[in-house]
Amino acid sequence: MADFEERRSLLGDEDERFVGDREPQRGAGGTGGTGAMPAICDPRHLLHRVVVLVFMCFLGFGSYFCYDNPAALQTQVLQDLNLNTENFMRLYAWYSWPNVVLCFFGGFLLDRVFGIRFGTIIFSVFVCAGQIVFATGALLNHFWLMEAGRFIFGIGGESLAVAQNTYAVNWFKGKELNLVFGLQLSMARLGSTVNMNIMGWVYNKVAGLVGSPGYTALGGSLMIAAVTCLFSLICALVLAYLDKRAERILQKEQGGTGEVIKLTDVKDFPLTLWLIFIICVCYYVAIFPFIGLGQVFFIEKFNFSPAEARAVNSIVYIISAPASPILGFLVDKTGRNVVWVIIAVTATLAAHMMLAFTFWNPWIAMSLLGVSYSLLACALWPMVAFVVPEHQLGTAYGFMQSIQNLGLALIAMAAGAILDTRGYLVLEVFFCACICMALMAVVMLYFVDYLRGGDLNQSAAARARLQKEATSDAENKRRPTPRPLLDPSVITCPQECFEMMSFIRLPAPPPAL
């Protein structure tokens, strides 16, 4: 770690010096025609990068804001459109369906077909158009149009996140990348939280304007939510311009995701990776669909007001924003990822059982859920890098996201149907069963890993010792191992995975001969 810090700072200095050297030359030659630029306009300057960062952060704001619109307006959507819960949950399923396939191609489309700038704009347009179609569907009281809107929104949504990270790497590689990833994620969480807590108020205001609550008011408030997507689209356009301009000035290559996905790699995936997939699917299907359905649960079972219910529903996102970096650091320093995953899954099971079988204040259970959800992300996602070789990492993460989306789409609909016919207790028991499956998989992972030498569950100290041996063997002391995942670092994976990007370490490479 210390090695890495040193290298980074060195690299940074080098970079600065390099830029400094070149500046007078270019000024004299006048090739760029931008000799005396103020710092804020100079792509080489930190200040300019900060401006770019602001646009980058808001690039994803719209899609995160609108993703949980249905959850934030659950009662209103159900009532105004006279839906049952199964249909309501189809709004989430339709978001996930395109991503079952797209997460394999998102990176490819960005790299090879559109390029990062055009690709980002296209995905932003999809997000924006999707939300507008969604809102129009509500305005006209056509549910199929709303579903179509969510589908279009889904096409853009996850790919836009990839584009956002590609931009981040492009502008901040070797500099403040971890911080930038962190900021982007905090922005995403902010989007989700603000959405959860503000949409009810927006709906009431719109209902006041149009005279009565109803699908018109719903459509109106969703249209207002679409403004955030429009804003994100503007950010995409500005970023494209700034990136083009920087490319001209710095004469750099257009960045790509650098991701290679080979579906044939799937047959080489080890058993441990499949177990990680099972944990991932079984765990996340008990989190996101629950949040989607949470509002009415808190109102009905715990007598919460709608505003309170939305607040407690958003606590998972609020907690994970600060908890993720802290827990990520903790897991990184201690190692023993499998044990951490076991703890996280058990805590989630406890939280779900609390919600199912007690009347205890849901703030307790939801806070526990928030912490354990963050802990799981911290411990689970970096494990993938330990079990597959680097060149398969993109495929592994892509595959993981694909089946996660498949699971989310199916379970979202199943959860709706269960709620409609058997109620919240059985739904919670169903989620508990999912978590139990995840628990079973992680216990199996522990044993399989144990039999194979226990790479996954090593403590950080053991890892460091191995690392030392590896470096002395390799006689390559300058290269830090395990290396942080920075170079081809943009991988198509969900939000929770990006968060952990800075904690993903590649295992030590084989000693050079």
Partner: protein, 422 residues
């Protein structure tokens, strides 16, 4: 290894516990009653004027429950619990139809039943046994009646769902013309057509031989000691676009008036999705928490005849208030009780922001009335089984894996000593 066996034992204990729970919950319903249904007992002509009287005798081993359902005046359900398996109902029809003579309907016990009292009472509770004996040593121990007196409608202009809004003249249920009961299908709905409207208000009584659940939501749990009354409004024209309805209920508890409503929260909403509350309107012996009779309902009504979750609408009730005995507009109550202590409450349907009655023009609500304590929901076999398997399986994997690893380690140890270290 020793720790392992302790763990194993504990696990088996847990699994055993779950399964014993599973079987106990399914094997509870052993108590049954035999139902004998009679329409207008003692009346020979085709149909008595003014309404019918349905008598259901639910005969247990040592006791009898008499359910009397009558449409003379406001529709009323009377429940009399006697400690004899051969008690009967006697009706003097002439004063009964005149609706002014107390004692024109009597439940007559055999005189030799006192010895069997204890057994019967044990089902209701000892505390009650004593008080019942002192109060009424030789006849019915528990009786309660429930009548539906008024259907109230108000215009909820500001969508507040509070009754302070404009109240229309109420529909007096005693003035409706009720459909005739039919001896071939005694459990058919009893409908009263509402004046100036094509719609009607209907009631359907169900009595039960054993424990079980209703077929449609709210799927109330019932025992052989209770009967279920479904009430629904179908197609009644609202007098305003934003009308909401309330139902006024009157209950007479004999020696133990139905004076309080307890709201029970339950974590179990399996049979009534997303409804976690039930109201118990109970009659209890003076100063005791012992419940001798109850009217129970889930806090939900449905806006369609084939209910789904999205058609659920919450209902609330006012606190029970004592009412004058003249308020009871029921022929049955006047014929049975001499000095009645009546309590009344309103059940209102819908909350602020909920759709108005006009959206579907249908509203159905179900209650359960019985003696003893209200039945308590327990987890279904499905829930228990899923949790048992869900929690048991990871523990099992942990155990099997642990044992396997230990065995492997042991098998590896001797050979490992001779292997070269690389």
């Amino acid at each position: 290894m020793a720790a392992g066996t302790v763990k194993t034992r504990r696990t088996f204990l847990v699994i055993f516990l779950f399964f014993s729970l599973l079987f106990s919950s399914s094997g509870q319903s052993s108590f049954t009653r035999q139902l004998i249904v009679q329409l207008n007992p003692g009346w020979s002509a085709p149909a008595p004027p003014g309404g019918d009287l349905l008598h259901i005798r639910a005969v247990g081993d040592n006791d009898t429950l008499h359910f009397l359902f009558c449409s003379q005046g406001a529709p009323t359900l009377l429940l009399v619990h006697t400690n004899s398996s051969s008690s009967s109902v006697k009706v003097d029809w002439t004063p009964f139809l005149a609706r002014n003579t107390t004692g024109s309907l009597r439940v007559e016990p055999e005189s030799s039943v006192l010895s069997s009292t204890a057994l019967v009472f044990s089902r209701v509770g000892d505390v009650h046994l004593k008080s019942a004996q002192t109060l009424n040593p030789h006849t019915q121990e528990v009786n309660l009646s429930l009548s539906l007196s008024q259907l109230l409608e108000y215009d909820d202009i500001n969508d507040t769902a509070s009754m302070t809004s404009d109240l229309f003249p109420p529909y007096e249920l005693q003035n409706l013309s009720w459909s005739r009961m039919n001896s071939s299908d005694p459990f058919a709905p009893l409908c009263g057509s509402v004046v100036n409207s094509s719609g009607s208000i209907c009631l359907q009584l169900s009595a039960f031989e054993s424990e079980g659940r209703g077929q449609s939501w709210p799927r109330l749990l019932h025992t052989a000691n209770s009967s279920q009354l479904g009430v629904w409004l179908d197609g009644v024209s609202p007098r305003a676009a934003r009308s909401r309805f309330m139902l006024e209920l009157q209950a007479v508890g004999g020696a133990y008036p139905l004076s309080r409503v307890d709201v029970h929260r339950s974590i179990d909403d399996e049979f009534t999705p997303s409804i976690f509350k039930a109201s118990h309107w109970v009659s209890s012996a003076n100063g005791s928490s012992e419940v001798v009779g109850f009217v129970r309902w889930r806090s939900v009504a449905f806006r369609r005849s084939k209910p789904a979750l999205e058609d659920a609408t919450p209902c609330r009730n006012s606190a029970p208030r004592p009412q004058s005995s003249e308020a009871a507009a029921s022929g049955l109550i006047r014929a049975f009780y001499s000095n009645v202590e009546t309590f009344g409450l309103n059940v209102s349907f819908g909350l602020a922001g909920e759709p108005f009655y006009n959206s579907t023009r249908f509203l159905s609500w179900t209650l359960l009335m019985g003696v003893g304590s209200p039945p308590v929901d327990s987890f279904s076999a499905l829930v228990v089984a899923v949790m048992a398997v869900g929690l048991g399986a990871p523990v099992l994997v942990l155990l099997v894996g642990g044992v396997w690893i230990c065995a492997r380690k042991r098998a590896m140890e001797p050979t490992a000593a001779y292997e070269p270290i690389n």
